[in-house]
């Protein structure tokens, strides 16, 4: 069964290139079915798409579907292209990132095809009989649900970023590349303006420096930004901080914010409300800094520092800078 399995990985990319989560999808696909055929599907606005890194990360074939409308992601055009390719390739599984775009695209395509969708998965298993089971967090991570996918194929699965990181590129891998100019229906209105800054998104960051009310005011988030800059991290916040207007909502971690799984989460001046813990407790390593030794955040922390974050964070910035430059 496994030898015949075909998996499509939808490449997520933007003006800065292929998003790292794409390589995680390829890694997950290889782990799931190493002898199967893995096709990276790249919707490109022009011919100059660079496919070599996709092959190095595990693709057997890269299909580059070229159309001027693909100069930016819009779900309608991606939906049309993906439905076409699914019809041609007849894959068993289609993997997409659990990004805002991946979630809407997978939901729309699954509904059109009448097939199963599992969102934001953190584990995938394929049995010898070809059954696919997934594990995904529910209640923002307060519990995990394991499910079997049923109905006709393909199964659509979106994967949470940062979970399926592999060994990295293998530059000796070979694969095939197919470039094809495709036609799309005439969509009436695809006018779109995009404002994406240079800042790392918290769901994509390997390291997060996060602030709570213990930061005492918006001006003190500069301290967290300084530490984040040294570590190449993103800055996040708790809900009360966002509700006070100290930080934008897109930085909010928790059950009514975003769920993150970085390698390192440094919680500064955070009490650790149950909603917040749900959104970050699957981080690999958690550091908590809080002046209250009884704060709930210490219950999930691997390393705790009892003290005022406003005093300790600058010391950390200095120290990390020293050893990273050392």
């Amino acid at each position: 069964m496994e030898s015949e399995i075909t998996i499509i990985v939808v490449v997520e990319h933007d003006q800065s290139g292929i998003k790292p989560v794409t390589y995680e999808l390829l890694n997950a696909a290889r782990k799931l079915a190493d002898t199967g055929k893995i096709i990276a599907l790249y919707f490109a606005g022009a011919e100059e798409a660079d496919e070599s890194t996709l092959i190095h990360h595990g693709a057997d074939e890269v299909r580059i579907c070229i159309h001027p409308d693909y100069h930016q992601y819009i779900h309608e055009t991606y939906e049309a292209g993906l439905l076409n390719e699914i019809e041609k390739i007849k894959p068993d599984i289609v993997l997409m990132p659990a990004s805002n775009s991946g979630k809407e695209l997978s939901a729309a395509v699954a509904t059109r095809l009448g097939v199963a969708l599992a969102t934001d998965c953190i584990d995938l298993q394929l049995s010898l009989e070809g059954e696919v089971t997934i594990k995904r967090p529910v209640f923002a991570g307060k519990a995990y649900s394991q499910c079997k996918l049923g109905g006709s194929k393909p199964y659509l699965i979106t994967l949470r970023p940062n979970i399926f990181r592999g060994e990295g590129a293998d530059e000796t891998r070979n694969g095939e590349t197919v470039r094809e100019k495709i036609s799309l229906p005439d969509f009436l209105n695809l006018e779109l303006t995009r404002e994406v800054g240079a800042k790392l998104d918290i769901t994509e960051a390997r390291i997060i420096v996060s602030g709570g009310l213990g930061m005492q005011g918006p001006e003190n988030f500069k301290l967290l930004e300084d530490l984040a800059e040294v570590l190449g991290a993103a800055v996040a916040a708790s809900r009360p901080v966002v509700d006070n207007g100290w930080q934008e909502y897109s930085h909010q971690v928790g059950q009514t914010g975003r769920t993150v799984s970085p390698d390192l989460y440094i919680a500064c001046g955070m009490s650790g409300a149950v909603q917040h813990l749900a959104g970050m407790s699957s981080s690999r390593c958690i550091v908590a800094i809080n002046s209250d030794p009884n704060a709930a955040i210490f219950s999930v922390a691997d390393y705790g520092i009892v003290g005022n974050a406003l005093e300790i964070v600058p010391l950390l910035t200095q120290e990390f800078k020293r050893i990273l430059e050392g």
């Binding site: 819009i74 779900h75 805002n100 809407e104 939901a107 729309a108 699954a110 509904t111 009448g114 199963a116 969708l117 969102t119 967090p137 529910v138 209640f139 923002a140 307060k142 519990a143 995990y144 649900s145 394991q146 499910c147 079997k148 996918l149 049923g150 006018e191 779109l192 303006t193 995009r194 404002e195 994406v196 800054g197 769901t203 994509e204 390997r206 390291i207 909502y249 897109s250 059950q255 009514t256 390192l264 149950v274 909603q275 690999r284 390593c285 550091v287 999930v300 922390a301 691997d302 390393y303 705790g304 009892v306 003290g307 300790i312 010391l315 950390l316 200095q318 120290e319 050893i323 990273l324």
Partner: protein, 261 residues
């Protein structure tokens, strides 16, 4: 404008949960309106304030307790509520729930459908886009701003993307949007609103009303079959760092033991 808002009743986000008989329970915790659906209700009520001939219908599928959530939406300013209620509607996955909702919405004419960007229990983010596909209307997800034209026929719609936002220009009604925090500030129902809600109708739609039979609603048709629920693995007990050079200690641990930097 005829506006339909889909809402879901969920467990309070402050709830600590347990697993009993393969179900998630939280004894004593209240049930609330899904927080993202509050943004949807608020947006509908704001549109009605700007365009008074509008009608706001809230719709929810679930057990009897759902009536309380519908009443809250009515108290916030919705005009009427539909409760999709039938023992046959239990145990259905998102793919079937979306079809049931679509059937209910299609019973009347509509211009705008609003949903939350996801429910905070299942975290699937599937029902909104699925519903749009079934209703055959365009959709935009994770929306933080809807700017209607003066005649309320088109709108510029801003959605959140990783690292920023993007705006779709001049989308023509009808369409569906899923609402994200930042879209508005949901009001607390006023006393006047609560009193007014008591006079508003909650219409009940059963499987028969929606011309759906037991065969269609058989959970065997689900595409996602739950096998097991578990609590997250316990994190190992942490270490409190003490002493003089705390910053140095931590930096060394992160580099040499955790090997993160």
């Amino acid at each position: 404008m005829k506006i339909v808002v889909c809402i879901k009743q969920v467990l309070d986000t402050a709830a600590e949960i347990q697993i009993q008989d393969d179900k998630i329970v939280s004894p004593g915790s209240p049930l609330i309106m899904n927080p993202y659906d509050e943004f949807a209700v608020e947006e509908a009520v704001c549109i009605k304030a700007a365009l008074p001939e509008s009608e706001v219908t809230v719709i929810s599928l679930g057990p009897d307790s759902v009536k309380e959530t519908l009443k809250r939406a009515l108290a916030m300013g919705a005009d009427r509520a539909i409760h999709i209620s039938d023992p046959l509607f239990t145990g259905l996955d998102h793919s079937i729930v979306a079809k049931v909702l679509a059937k209910a919405i299609q019973k009347n004419s509509f211009d705008l459908v609003l949903c939350g960007r996801q429910a905070v229990d299942d975290d699937m983010a599937q029902t909104g886009p699925a519903l749009a596909v079934l209703l055959d209307i365009p959709f935009v997800t994770v929306v933080t701003k809807i700017q209607f034209s003066e005649n309320f026929e088109t709108a510029d719609i801003t959605r959140q993307v990783e690292g920023g936002c993007e705006t779709r220009k001049s989308m023509s009604l009808p369409f569906l949007v899923t609402c994200q925090k930042g879209l508005n500030e949901p009001r607390l129902p006023s006393l006047k609103g609560i009193m007014a809600a008591k006079k508003k109708e909650i219409q009940i739609l059963s499987a028969t009303d929606l011309e759906l039979d037991a065969q269609f609603l058989d959970p065997k048709n689900n595409l996602l079959h739950p096998i097991n629920l578990s609590l997250p693995p316990e994190r190992k007990k942490g270490i409190i760092l003490e002493g003089e050079d705390i910053a140095k200690q931590l930096a060394t641990i992160i580099r040499e033991e955790e090997k993160i930097i």
